[in-house]
């Protein structure tokens, strides 16, 4: 049906004739230097671009007869509106970032002026943040836009972030946004081999109406990235350089020193049988394992880029190198990237090619687990009276009952590394169909290709070696590749008739994702190599038979969609969109799904009745939208268990040297999409000549048919089956505020702040269930997802040292732990968060102070449990245990060590997870043109910046931002966030 409709609309609109035109010409120059500005975009007030200035800054554009003013915009300059008089216009532009007049927002498959947009779209200008020395650009989004929660809880170089847009929309499906780079879908969390220095802007499509056009992939919101394009004019070069150091941030979790630990052991049965002489000598050793592991990391980056072009052909190209060593020894990332974007064509036909390629080498260490072999756990669990090296300079052996692996040896002798190659490319062709004015056909085909090669060496002398076949070390080499093709073909029609602006587009899209992996692990590391050469050929006798693995999966999506926009008097705007997706992931009954969206915007400040207020309130806009989006990704992508979750699958297993098949899941042929519907209302306003601009938005979304592992009776052979059921709600308020409290000729102060409150609520659960408990968290109707459900700890009975627990009603206490006494606590997802940037500029000296905050959540601190449970007597322990109950009458919260220890499932380890962090502070100086004078330099900027220099939190651990992953409970092995100071220089010539 829809195609017929489209045809009719195109037919109707093509009847309109072009209205009469006139020519406007002039020259545009820089206000200060008077130099000509090439490539300035000239547009009408409705945002429609009509031309650009040439290399000498001259322009001549054709505009409708009734046009009274034109807008000029140029990157790095404030927008300006110029009234058309008679004769040539002479326009001067001033450097700045005020793009309020012509700001274009990328709406995904298209773009429109911010003014006419009815959706909720956040825009991040990369130039503001790209100097932050972080390898994975998603981390940079933190605090940049309201509604976008970014968790970056690891300092491991190259690690990605957890991004949640407008709350948690899924329990078992993907929650991360869809990432699109130049029209190509790219894998989320796989950004360490992408250079954000090439990004021009990032659009965050937050509401369903904006994201709906991406259909079944957009429930987590969409992040649309456009990369830099060439600019008309002489070729310009830029060189950016940065160098700096990183240190570890410190921890509030304090461990016993040697004499405390030895005293504690003697008091509790002396498990190691220490003699007084042992205690004397061991007390003198005090190893600070944090000092042993952490060192100063070095970051450096270089980027050389060139951009230029003629009216016909434009190009942008860059080469970059990024090298960061982590604060944990033997970790780091080296990255080499390049990009070429080129566009050429005639008035009628335009073709373009965007490509980036990159290679990175990552050396990392295990994170976020409770494994004794993880060096980052060993920092806490190792004994203070053991040294990392013995007298002879060899790795020392822990001779105690603890027998903790020497963590330094584990870290340094068992290197792991990942080489990643990534290529993202797309080609497009755009053709203005002759005979039908304003009708454009476009096709774009792109790929995201990622190839990883991982190596893990286990040295035969290490603890890890005791866990491998043959206990004589191992070498594993794995390889995987993911190729995703995205092909989009469209017809777009744009037309202005009098006061009416129309635009209609129809699309088809095909996306295919293909994953393969293989790898092997070889054993018997006897020869002195750290590669394949070290492997001993396996026989039944020596047991060194290598293990070979491999798997693969494939999925595809086919879509048809359309959207239409209508504007009247550049004041009233309507939008509608529709998409139909078919996915290979679901059973025959539910293969296809439809999504739609509608929106409207009204510029109230342009109404006549508003005229009296107009000198105070420059802009007042009201917008509304409603739409639906879906989520098709269940579980871990690129596994057959996810891509074919609707089917029961027999997987390969082995027994006694024979292959067998084991049914892994019961399958569910009715599995279908998660569907999110969302409402958005917003006000945008500008006051006092745009000294104050603000956005206030309210949203309310419901995601139904959640992917949900419905618990089965385990007598079926399975604990659960993936199904659809339950509803999650997210509603919230977003504020965005830009203030210019002070602005004089030489000094300005700008505040850019955002705030989000998101209320997540479980609205329904399958089968009329009210409460489902997973370990320490629960799903309860009316409470947020990830709500903790634990017994409330009531302290210690002073009489006997027993731990006391509150009973369910909270009135009485008992010394018997009973899970039925569990009550609800806070949630792991922060409901309040945002960022504040203060920028001070004095004659080109700029100080930018950027804070982020995240408040209102709780964290289960498992790191503490692992050093506070007295059962771990023989390993490193927290100083807190020194305060444990010893004698009747002792008042303390730490029970006697011999009690039945049941604090694990109480709120004792639940902590306030809120924090304020000075995420970035940067002092920069733009050397003025007057000083650069006749040198060949166009621009020169020097800066110094510091990251994460200060964090305010009550959380007792390395970092209140937990490592990424869905788990509400933080496991252990935390790689702390880096405190980094860098110096940099940007040169333009």
């Amino acid at each position: 049906m829809k195609k017929v409709l489209l045809l009719v609309m195109l037919t109707v609109t093509s009847f309109y004739l072009a209205s009469a035109q006139k020519i406007v010409s002039g020259k545009v120059t820089d206000e200060k230097g008077g130099t000509a500005l090439p490539g300035v975009t000239i547009s009408l007030k409705n945002g429609k671009a009509v031309g650009t200035s040439d290399a000498q800054g001259n322009f001549a554009v054709s505009v409708p007869n009734n046009t009274q003013a034109i807008l000029l915009s140029y990157i790095g300059y404030n927008d300006i509106e110029t009234v058309i008089g008679t004769g040539n216009l002479n326009v001067t532009m001033t450097a700045g970032k005020n793009r309020s007049l012509t700001e274009v927002v990328i709406t995904g498959y298209g773009n429109k002026t911010k003014r006419s947009s009815s959706g909720s779209i956040g825009t991040v200008v990369m130039d503001d943040i790209r100097t932050q020395p972080i390898a994975s650009f998603d981390q940079l989004l933190q605090g940049q836009s309201s509604g976008v929660f970014v968790k970056t809880g690891t300092g491991q170089p190259g690690a990605s972030a957890d991004v949640l847009i407008r709350g948690r929309n899924s329990l078992n499906g993907a929650t991360s946004p869809l990432y699109i780079v130049d029209g190509v879908e790219v894998t989320a969390a796989d950004f360490s081999t992408l250079n954000q220095g090439d990004f021009e802007s990032i659009s965050l499509l937050k509401d369903a109406a904006s994201a709906s056009i991406y259909g079944s992939r957009a429930a987590g919101g969409v992040i649309v990235i456009t990369t830099k394009k060439g600019r008309v004019g002489a070729t310009r070069f830029n060189y950016d350089f940065q160098y700096g150091r990183s240190d570890w941030p410190g921890s509030k979790l304090k461990l016993m020193n040697s004499s405390e630990k030895l005293g504690y052991e003697l008091e509790h049965g002396n498990p190691n049988g220490w003699t007084p002489a042992d205690v004397d000598s061991l007390s003198k050793i005090n190893t600070d394992w944090e000092d042993v592991f952490f060192h100063t990391g070095i970051t450096q980056s270089h980027q050389l880029s060139a951009s230029g072009g003629s009216e016909r052909t434009k190009f942008y190209t860059s080469l970059a190198y990024f090298d960061q060593t982590g604060i944990v020894r033997a970790t780091g990332l080296k990255r080499y990237t390049g990009r070429l974007n080129i566009e050429t064509g005639t008035e009628k036909l335009k073709v373009g090619f965007n490509s980036s390629f990159g290679y990175s080498k990552l050396q990392n260490t295990r994170e976020n687990d409770q494994y004794v072999g993880s060096p980052l756990n060993a920092i806490l669990w190792s004994l203070p009276y053991i040294t990392p090296y013995d007298k002879d300079g060899k790795y020392s052996v822990d001779n105690t009952a603890n027998a903790q692996a020497n963590p330094l040896q584990e870290l340094l002798e068992n290197p792991t590394s990942t080489n990643q190659w990534k290529g993202i490319a797309n080609v497009f062709a755009e053709y203005k169909i002759p005979f039908v004015k304003d009708l454009t056909a476009r096709t774009s085909w792109g790929m995201d290709y990622t190839q990883k090669e991982a190596q893990a060496f286990v040295s035969p002398d290490t603890y890890a070696s005791t866990q491998v076949v043959g206990t004589t070390g191992s070498f594993a080499h794995g390889f995987n590749r993911l190729l995703r093709l995205t092909g989009t073909t469209s017809l777009n029609y744009k037309k202005t008739v009098g006061s009416h602006d129309f635009s209609v587009s129809g699309y088809t899209e095909y996306i295919e994702s293909n994953y393969r992996s293989f790898g092997f692990t070889g054993y018997g590391i006897l020869l002195p190599f750290q590669n394949e050469a070290a492997i001993t050929a396996g026989t039944a006798d020596n047991g060194f038979i290598p293990n070979v693995t491999g798997r693969g999966t494939k999925s595809a999506l086919i879509s048809y969609f359309a959207e239409a926009d209508y504007g009247y008097l550049n004041k009233y705007f309507l939008h509608a969109g529709f998409r139909r997706d078919g996915s290979s992931r679901f059973g025959a009954n539910n293969k296809y799904a439809n999504f739609y969206n509608v929106g409207a915007a009204w510029i109230i400040s342009d109404e006549n009745f508003f005229a009296s207020l107009k000198n105070k309130i420059n802009l007042l806009k009201f917008k509304l939208s409603y739409g639906t989006v879906g989520n098709q990704i269940y579980g871990v992508p690129n596994f057959e268990a996810s891509d074919f979750a609707s089917r029961p699958l027999f997987g390969k297993v082995n027994y006694g040297g024979n292959p067998g098949l084991s049914l892994n899941s019961p399958g569910n042929p009715n599995l279908r999409w998660e569907e999110k519907s969302s409402f958005n209302a917003g006000l945008e306003f500008g006051l006092f000549k745009n000294r104050v601009t603000a956005t206030v938005e309210y949203y309310n979304s419901k995601t139904k048919d959640l992917f949900y592992a419905i618990p089965l009776s385990q007598t079926t052979g399975f604990t659960s089956v993936i199904s659809n059921g339950g509803t999650l709600g997210n509603k919230g308020i977003e504020l965005g505020l830009k203030l210019i409290p002070l602005k004089t000729r030489n000094f300005s102060w700008t505040i850019d702040a955002n705030f989000t409150y998101n209320k997540n609520t479980v609205l329904a659960l399958p089968d009329g269930t009210d409460t489902v408990t997973f370990g320490s968290t629960t799903l309860k109707i009316g409470k947020p997802a990830q709500t903790f459900f634990l017994v409330k700890y009531a302290g210690v009975d002073p009489a006997n040292g027993d731990p006391l627990y509150y009973t369910k009603d909270g009135k009485g206490t008992t010394n018997v732990y009973d899970p039925s006494d569990r009550v609800f606590f806070g949630t792991a997802d922060a409901p309040y968060f945002g960022g504040i940037t203060n920028t001070f500029n004095f004659k080109g000296i700029e100080l930018e102070v950027f804070w982020i905050y995240s408040l209102g959540n709780v964290i289960y601190n498992n790191d503490r449990l692992n050093v506070e449970n007295p059962a771990y007597l023989v390993s490193g322990l927290s100083k807190d245990l020194l305060r444990e109950w010893r004698n009747p009458g002792d008042i303390t919260v730490i029970p006697r060590s011999s009690s039945d220890y049941q604090l694990t499932n109480t709120d004792y380890f639940l902590e306030n997870g809120g924090f304020w962090r000075l995420r970035n502070i940067r002092l920069s100086y733009d050397i003025p043109k007057s000083i650069l004078g006749k040198s060949k330099l166009n621009s020169l900027r020097v800066f110094a910046q510091g990251q994460n220099l200060y964090t305010y939190t009550k959380y007792r651990g390395y970092d209140p931002e937990l490592p990424i992953g869905e788990a509400a409970v933080h496991q252990g092995a935390v790689y702390p966030t880096l405190k980094t100071i860098t110096l940099g220089i940007n040169i333009g010539f």
């Binding site: 027999f650 027994y655 098949l661 089965l712």
Partner: protein
Amino acid sequence: MKRINLNYIQIATLLLLTLLTACSKKIDITPQFSLDGSKPLTSLDQADFVLTGTYNSFLGGGYFNSVPTANTAGQTLQPASFSGLPDMMSDDLVETFEDFPNYRKASEWTYTADEANVQITFANCYNVISGVNIILRDVDNLSAIEPDRANNIKGQALAIRAMAHFDLLRYFATTFDRNSTELGIAYIKTYDATGKPSRNSIKECYDNIFADVNAAITAFNASGSSSGDVSRIDVNAAYALKARASLYAGLWQDAADASTLLIDQLSLANMDDFPGIWTDDNDEEVIWKVKFQSVNDGTPYENVFFARGNKSLYRPTLTIDALYDAANDVRHDTYIANVGTFNGIGHDPRLAVIKHRGKSPASATEGGGFVDWKVFRVAEFYLSRAEANFQLGNEASALADLNALRTARIIGFVDGTETGSALLDAIKLERRKELAFEGHRFFDLKRWDKTQIDRCGEIDSPSSICELDHSSRAWAWPIPETEISANPNMIQNPGY
């Protein structure tokens, strides 16, 4: 002009439409690395693969596996529910300071309905059962071409079904009385992913177990041949299961008869060969064992003694160590070693269970930990027949079996002459010594009228709870909380 315009648009639209229809087939994708299980099994080969897959489930942590696997989501506990765990819960093992207290709730009997180890065991046993129920659903339709092979597969599947249910009963039943009307476990005979069954009575469970075992024996006999592969269940293993279950049920004659069939076919190992049973150098006495062939398969007993890291997490109690005539009893040095001071520091003696430390180790503290788990070996049935005959009043036969076993194990053993209760005590003592660290002790104590467990005399242990009373609720495990909430028909055990 206008007419031409329209044509262009129509052509373009037509082009789009063609593109769409051509593409819609592209979303029909078949998995390439897994078998789609939506349809019934189509061949005996497939049934055989699924059977092998079911054997693999015995390598699960809720059955015989003991290695916690570290992954990014933390660690998955592998309680080794029918190898290490029952011994930790008995008076044969005691926790040491070298342990991570992952199993303390089990070994101190403080488990509650949310205990992970209980849930893992429950799920693992039923996972085994679902695998064989798929085979039993389809095998009769596939038997036309190779009826003997079909019968063999069917025999194995039925025996496995009986075995897994019986093992569940060992933990979750409040009593082992043959005709008890108290709740046993749900006996599942059809594969149904939506079932919410209620618990059968203990009597009904036994009825089904014996029915399945007898049907298995019938099927094996019909298949006409025995595989001779000790890694798989054959007719002897079915008889072994029948003997064991009969002994629990107090069906003394059945226990004795089934034992006789086994004793007639397999003999006890001589003293030179005996240690080799435990390092997989030979298969003497073995009726069925579960294969652990590399660390990738896991290990059956490393949560007790982790030889690779020389950690004695649960050590043999001094009591059981003292029961053996260490100088003359071949079992003592095969089962237990003083693994010395640990890297120079530690306790003396520092005992460890070395019985399952690995294939062909050179010294007590070596071994990769992976070694086959001997589920049934003939020695058990000497003791079972002795116990059954004693209960039937055939004291002479009972003593004969007991002496045969003792003579096989102890150098210079002079036949004992026990009678009456002394004979029963001697049978029980020998059972403890012979089957030590094979996952029997807790269940035997439960079977013997919940004899109080007492290991309070042990020293150097972080464990403070050392007694399990006759009247404790802990003799029967709680039904997992997750099962109770998913299945309203499931009733909790008393006291939880």
